[in-house]
């Protein structure tokens, strides 16, 4: 039960008999009735979900058409503008702006006491712009930080709006207005006038984006460069804010003041996870916004007069979650997979290196390395080492003989082992010679870098170290000739060993 509907605050505040609440309940009831009327979809409570779905998809009801078109249009414009505020790390400016429009909505309504789309549009845009201007004024003239200024403006403007709304609802004409639908959104309340306005604004946003794409791009990513080449960065910033305010205001009717910032942030953030190119991000964000809008309109239509905004937001969140988990490059799963395969590769390379060391200690006599030797070298149990040798076998870097007790490197494995040992020793030499580090301090560092040195860096290191053959500890650095020994072996029938001299 809301206070706004109380006949008068002062009377409600005093404790008075329960009977006085009857008229209040009656007004609540009336308002709910008026809401259902405003929805214009008819008596929903009697029909089943399936019938509702059929009604939605046959598009016979003009209200359904308006709601769907409107929701998709707002998704496009919010996605486009949202992309810029997400990459500019200004997401919460969108939040502040969307809350700050509320007093403008109320004043626009008061203009001629009706839900005139144009009056509300103008009022809301002005209020939103005033809000962002106050934020930057507070930032410039006080010690307060941006987050405080945003929160302060957001809540204060919203409070003014709430006061105005509760005053309007008290008016005799106010109850039937459906202005309360601006808080949580009701796509079904979108009329033909609203759709026309939304179409005009979306077209404007798209055209401005196309014409000034380069300017927007440069000022968003490198404002200093933009100023240096003579773009009016400040002007472009204001233009963006104005368009942002437009996008927010046309979304109000369907999404509601409270949640409209999600339609800016969430589809754009999902797009941001999927691509590195701005134009693709814009397209994806517009697409996601459109999907979220349509899905939200549909879901809220299924239920009994449920607010639209929350459904759109959850639809957008679902898209974001999908991108967050399954994005091909930045998704959590892809990252996890990359990390895992990197860990496995490093592990294999360490095993190869140990096998090389075992071979080296017996001066490369004999071909196979037994599990026991490897286990002693790695200071691990036989089971662990057996598992590692299996891992090498599945990657074609070794063959196993005598029930898996003897490990023979394939040419592939031999070359990789040589390369890793070479990387390690070259890097140790580089650190002692060029970086003047003590010889007993360089091992740890080389342990890490040996797995990531590329061929080009290795060539560069070899040149700088004048093709040295001994590392700081006096052991020889395997070179191309050593690697080829393995390559020669590949001509034999069976791929075993690092290869004897043929």
């Amino acid at each position: 039960m809301s206070l706004s509907l109380a006949p008068g605050f002062a009377t409600a505040a005093a404790s008075f008999p329960r009977a006085h609440f009857r008229p209040l309940c009656a007004i609540v009831y009336l308002l709910l009735g008026a809401t259902a009327h405003a929805a214009r979809i008819g008596d929903i409570s009697e029909t089943s979900l399936w019938e509702q779905a059929v009604r939605f998809f046959t598009f016979q009801d003009p209200a359904v058409r308006y709601a769907l078109i409107g929701s998709m249009l707002l998704g496009i414009s919010c996605g486009l503008l949202g992309s810029f505020i997400v990459v500019r790390k200004m997401s919460l400016v969108g939040d502040a702006l969307s809350h700050a429009v509320l007093p403008g909505v109320a004043l626009g309504f008061l203009w001629n006491m009706s839900k005139d789309p144009v009056a509300i549009f103008i009022g809301a845009t002005l209020a939103g712009l005033l809000g962002t201007a106050v934020v930057s004024l507070i930032k410039q003239t006080t010690r307060l930080k941006e987050d405080t200024a945003l929160g302060l403006v957001l809540a204060s403007f919203f409070a003014v709006g709430i006061c105005l709304l509760t005053m309007i609802q008290r008016l005799p004409t106010g109850n039937k207005s459906g202005i309360d639908k601006f808080l949580f959104g009701q796509a079904a309340a979108i009329g033909s006038g609203d759709v026309k306005l939304m179409a005009v604004v979306t077209a404007l946003v798209v055209v401005v984006m196309l014409v000034f794409y380069k300017e927007f791009l440069v000022t968003s990513f490198d404002a200093q460069f933009a100023r240096a080449v003579g773009f009016p960065a400040q002007l472009i910033h204001y233009a963006q804010m104005l368009l942002l305010a437009f996008a927010v205001v046309i979304a109000l009717q369907a999404v509601g003041v409270v949640l409209v910032s999600a339609m800016l942030i969430t589809p754009a953030a999902a797009a941001y996870l999927l691509t590195d190119r701005m134009h693709r991000m814009l397209l994806l964000a517009a697409l996601f916004g459109m999907m979220a809008g349509a899905l939200g309109a549909f879901l809220s239509f299924l239920g009994n007069n449920l607010p639209t905004g929350p459904f759109m937001v959850l639809a957008a969140t679902a898209v974001f979650t999908g991108a967050f988990l399954f994005g091909p490059r930045h998704g959590v799963l892809a990252r996890w997979w990359r990390q895992r395969s990197r860990t496995l590769r490093v592990q294999r390379e360490n095993t190869l290196k140990s096998i090389y060391h075992v071979l080296e200690t017996r001066e490369f006599k004999g071909e196979g390395v037994s599990l026991r030797e490897l286990a002693e070298r790695r200071r691990e149990t036989l089971e662990e080492v057996a598992e590692q040798s299996q891992e090498l076998r599945t990657h074609g870097q070794a063959t196993l003989h005598e029930d898996g007790n003897q490990i023979f490197l394939t040419p592939d494995g031999w070359q990789r082992a040589c390369a890793i040992v070479r990387n390690h020793r070259l890097w140790e030499l580089y650190l002692t010679n060029e970086a003047r580090m003590a010889a007993d301090h360089v091992h740890e560092d080389a342990e890490k870098i040996e797995h990531v040195l590329g061929e080009e860096t290795v060539r560069e290191l070899e040149r700088r170290l004048e093709f040295a053959t001994k590392d700081p500890h006096g052991r020889s650095i395997p070179g191309l000739a050593d690697m080829r020994k393995g390559a020669g072996a590949s001509q034999r029938d069976e791929l075993i060993g690092y290869g004897r001299q043929t």
Binding site: L3, A10, L110, L152, C163, D180, G303, V313
Partner: protein
């Protein structure tokens, strides 16, 4: 327009509320004060730590916690609500951290995604289970502080303490004050110099999560009175106003409480004049007080700045003339 703004009647606006039988008005004023004081005190630390918008996020996202607690317990009991809100607050913090750390989405966007999703979930729960949850969308937006005097009263023996929510808010406020006094030094150090705090052996994570938990509890107990969004104002406005007037933390904390008291009483007078939402009116008066501090602050107000700017300009002109 005449219908919209009732004529100003001094007696009706300023005298009548205090002289009404039953004294219901005093409870509303007290509730407003307690909410503003508790929120403002916690909010000061949010401002210092540049976490004002995390406060915004948590105040929105406790909604599903409250709704789920309602569904399970079937009542407006304090404990289920506190637990639900604590859980929701924690989930919000974890979601923000996860999105921020595990993907390249920046923290501001992560905050925006987390709290809008949770808030949307809460609104849907409330709409779908409207018959089971004794909460409505209006309450979520601007609270029901005017109904405070109509609640059942809490009695301690034969002594009548006051309406349930006022007593609860009073306890929360006292706990907040006690915690701030008790851990004053830890909060001070970790807010101003996190590196020093760590080197002194304070656990930054513990302080962070403790503050978030306190914030969730304060927000949820204020929620019924002022709603999810106006809580943000209660968190930020008192501290922001106070920090324009002083740079010393004890003074700022004191001024926060004063701001809370003033905005509560003035707000209720405004509401009884305009006949509008009292919670909204309190915030409006709080914002007016902020604007006054912004303009007239003796150390860094707009007027002072303008004066300084002009005198330095004059000094420049004089030196130029002297040079010529």
């Amino acid at each position: 327009m005449n219908e919209l703004i009732p004529s100003f009647d001094f007696h009706r606006v300023f005298i009548e509320p205090w002289t009404q039988p039953g004294g219901g008005f005093i409870w509303i004023a007290l509730m407003g004060f307690l909410v503003a004081a508790a929120c403002g005190l916690v909010g000061n630390y949010l401002i210092l730590r540049r976490m004002a918008l995390v406060g915004d996020a948590i105040s929105h996202s406790v909604l599903p916690g409250i709704a789920i607690a309602f569904l399970f317990s079937g009542s407006r009991g304090s404990w289920p609500m506190f637990l639900g809100a604590l859980a929701a607050g924690l989930v919000t913090t974890v979601i923000i951290e996860t999105i921020h750390k595990k993907s390249r989405v920046k923290q501001d966007a992560a905050i925006g995604i987390a709290f809008t999703s949770l808030f949307a979930l809460g609104v849907i729960l409330i709409s779908v289970f409207a018959s089971k949850v004794d909460l409505d969308q209006e309450c979520v937006l601007y609270g029901e502080i005017a109904f405070v005097p109509l609640e059942e009263t809490v009695k301690l023996g034969s002594l009548v303490l006051g309406p349930t929510s006022v007593v609860r808010m009073g306890i929360v406020t006292l706990v907040t004050v006690a915690l701030i006094l008790l851990f004053y030094k830890e909060l001070l150090v970790s807010s101003f110099d996190p590196a020093l705090a760590v080197s002194l052996g304070n656990n930054a994570t513990v302080v962070h999560y403790a503050l978030m938990s306190l914030l969730s509890v304060v927000v949820v107990s204020a929620f019924e009175s002022v709603g999810a969004i106006l809580v943000v104002a209660m968190l930020i406005l008192p501290g922001a106003t106070a920090s324009l007037l002083s740079q010393r933390l004890p003074v700022v904390l004191g001024l926060t409480v004063v701001h809370g008291a003033l905005s509560s009483v003035l707000g209720i007078h405004l509401a009884s004049w305009l006949n509008c939402s009292p919670a909204g009116a309190m915030v409006v008066m709080g914002a007016v007080l902020f604007c006054l501090a912004w303009i007239f602050s003796p150390s860094e107000g707009l007027l002072r700045r303008w004066q300084r700017g002009r005198s330095s300009q004059l000094a420049n002109v004089e030196t130029e003339e002297a040079g010529a």
